[in-house]
């Protein structure tokens, strides 16, 4: 027993150490910096300075720092965009997972390989490829003009449509994998039983299939939502940097405004949002999933 415990400790200590140093370390630095005074040329002055949060939440007095509702508005907009991405990914992915789960084993493996294929190339390169595809003289317009479907090129690049397209494109694998794993484990005898007991198709879906795949849906939604909230590269490259997202705002504080503490404070706010989402996930949805499992 003791030896087993030591063995376990040995196995767990590298990852604990790694997370401790490379995750909690930086996190602690961000937390501390967010309540310090910004240095003139970047960096920080070691004075307590709560105005970084005052700028966001409203107690900045307009003398030292200014309160502006724009920061919360940007945060809200980023969350909305992330939620929209989650829904779009789910609608696209959900039916496909059922189809894939019925393919022969080898075809399934091949499909999984295809889903992970985009990770072999850098995100930036893939986004610039989209820029080339979407531009007025790009691939889509060339084809549509060529077959005579449109007379003038469609205006797609640097629009909100392009941003959503890019977000969904990048995030789809994160939705697919968890949803697929729960759909694959779906107990088909239950579906048959539901039919035998006289349930209509939509009743079977709502009462049998959906609850059983809910953990996968919830897991995928969290995995898509979190990186989407802070994403700033996609709105920059495909949206033409016109709609400011919270991630852009953080980047700008470090690279343009030389205001590290304010950037850190904004990061803390993003983290609070993410933690809230995780808590809801952990308490509500996982428990709901367990309840269904018990029944």
């Amino acid at each position: 027993m003791r030896r087993q415990r030591l063995f376990l400790l040995g196995l767990l200590s590298p990852v604990t150490l790694y997370l401790g140093v490379f995750f909690f370390g930086p996190l602690a630095i961000i937390a501390v910096f967010s309540v310090l005074e910004p240095g003139l040329y970047g960096g920080v002055e070691w004075n307590f300075y709560h105005w970084n949060y005052g700028r966001i939440f409203g107690w900045a007095d307009g003398v030292v720092e200014w309160y502006e509702p724009v920061y919360l508005k940007i945060l809200f907009r980023s969350m909305l965009m992330a939620a929209f991405t989650v829904i779009a990914c789910l609608i696209l992915v959900y039916p496909v997972t059922f189809w894939v789960s019925r393919l022969p084993q080898r075809a399934q493996l091949f499909f999984m390989f295809l889903i992970t294929l985009p990770f072999f190339t850098s995100l930036i390169i893939r986004l610039y490829a989209w820029l080339v595809i979407l531009k007025p003289s790009g691939l889509i317009n060339d084809v549509l003009l060529g077959i005579g479907l449109i007379e003038t090129p469609l205006d797609m690049l640097f629009t909100r449509f392009a941003v959503v397209l890019g977000m969904v494109y990048v995030m789809i694998p994160f939705m697919f994998l968890p949803v697929y794993s729960s759909v694959e484990r779906l107990d088909r005898t239950l579906i048959e039983a539901s039919g035998d007991l006289g349930a209509r198709g939509w009743q079977t879906f709502l009462k049998v299939i959906l609850p059983q795949t809910l953990p996968g849906i919830a897991g995928g939604s969290v995995l898509v939502f979190i990186p989407s909230v802070g994403n700033f590269i996609i709105p920059d490259v495909l949206g033409g940097a016109k709609g400011l997202m919270i991630g852009n705002l953080v980047e700008q504080q470090f690279l343009d405004a030389r205001n590290w503490p304010f950037g850190a404070a904004l990061s803390m706010v993003i983290m609070a949002v993410v933690l809230t989402v995780m808590l809801i996930y952990a308490t509500k949805i996982v428990r709901a999933g367990q309840r269904i499992g018990e029944v």
Binding site: Y71, D256, A257
Partner: protein, 343 residues
């Protein structure tokens, strides 16, 4: 480009073999694509000193790395306002480069850093402008001002872009409303912000990806660095102009770091760059402005003949240079957020 890099690297390698006994080296930390690689190869060939080159994409990035303790670099290429900051922070070494034999080649108008008015520390390196590139056909004729530039989408339905840079974009608003690009007057910043928000709907994007979209004809016009003019010399339809309201200019200096391990090699390289025939190699490849008076007589025709690149004195008065704003930078940050979130 790749080829010249390979040549440069192999020449460096040969130089290394030849000078293996002393194994001197020099490490440059420069902006991306901001030095002609042939110059580095030539320097190695002549002196046997191996040259390493790392790059950065903003003054802030370079400063942050040096402040964080990055060592091993000898020469950096900060913009003028960053020279002042770095001197304040005691990051730069005194070189007495102004005692060099060829120092007289330098146009002393370009000694602009307040903290180094005589060139005791740094040496002027290169300068350029940020103006308007436009496609004559797609812009509905010639463009001469920012006002005309913003009117292109309304007139022709074609796209225009600006740089994704806080100070460059706000600079346009300030110049168009008759203020200095370094203004700290809240009323002037407000006027510039309003001027830009009024025109934001006509701007397709704030982006650095302009060159590709411009050359393919997808974007009619955009704000960009003069260096791109080197790619459009063959096409009369594509033009570069310094607008009548004004444009910003940038200037970088060569400075030796206090922490430089190879100060002697750094000094040799600075003296090498003072030579007109070397300096002109850089200007002709970079398509920007020269700080070397005798080199200006040797410029390639495409640069020499173009008043928007080889800027005459009358146009120089329309150019403004960014200064460090200190704490006032916050007002710009807030204005930039307002512009970017405006619907």
């Amino acid at each position: 480009m790749l080829f010249t890099k390979i040549v440069a690297t192999s020449l460096t390698a040969i130089g290394l073999l030849a000078g293996a006994a002393q194994a001197e080296e020099l490490r440059l930390y420069n902006w991306g694509d901001y030095i002609n690689p042939e110059i580095l190869a030539k320097f190695t060939e002549e002196t046997g000193i191996e040259v390493g080159l790392d790059t950065y994409s903003s003054n802030e990035e370079m400063l942050a790395k040096i402040q964080a303790g990055a060592t091993g670099y000898d020469i950096v290429f900060p913009s003028i306002h960053m020279v002042d900051i770095m001197l304040n922070l005691n990051l730069l070494a005194k070189t007495d480069i102004n005692q060099a034999a060829d120092w007289g080649n330098i146009d002393t108008d370009f000694l602009r850093a307040a903290n180094d008015p005589n060139g005791d520390y740094c040496m002027p390196y290169g300068w350029g402008t940020v103006g308007i590139f436009y496609n004559r056909e797609k812009s509905g004729g010639d463009i001469t001002s920012w006002e005309e530039f913003f009117a292109i989408p309304g007139k022709t339905g074609n796209k225009i872009t600006l740089l994704d840079d806080m100070r460059e974009v706000l600079g346009i608003g300030l110049m168009a409303t008759g203020a200095s690009v370094n203004s700290t007057d809240p009323a002037e910043i407000k006027a510039a912000t309003d001027w830009l928000i009024e025109r934001k709907g006509d701007v397709s994007a704030f982006t650095y990806a302009f060159p590709g979209l411009f050359l393919s004809g997808d974007v009619a016009a955009g704000q960009f660095f003069v260096g791109l003019a080197g790619a459009i010399t063959e096409d009369d339809n594509l033009q570069y102009v310094i607008p009548s309201e004004g444009a910003t200019m940038y200037e970088e200096a060569m400075c030796v770091l206090e922490s430089a391990p190879n100060k002697e090699a750094a000094r040799k390289f600075m003296e090498f760059m003072l030579r007109p025939e070397i300096s002109v190699m850089n200007t002709n490849q970079q398509f920007n402005g020269s700080v070397n008076v005798p080199a200006r007589a040797m410029l390639a025709d495409a640069i020499m003949m173009d008043p928007n690149i080889n800027v005459p004195a009358a146009t120089m008065t329309r150019l403004q240079m960014f200064e460090d704003l200190g704490k006032a930078l916050k007002a710009y940050d807030r204005a930039w957020n307002t512009i970017r979130t405006a619907e």
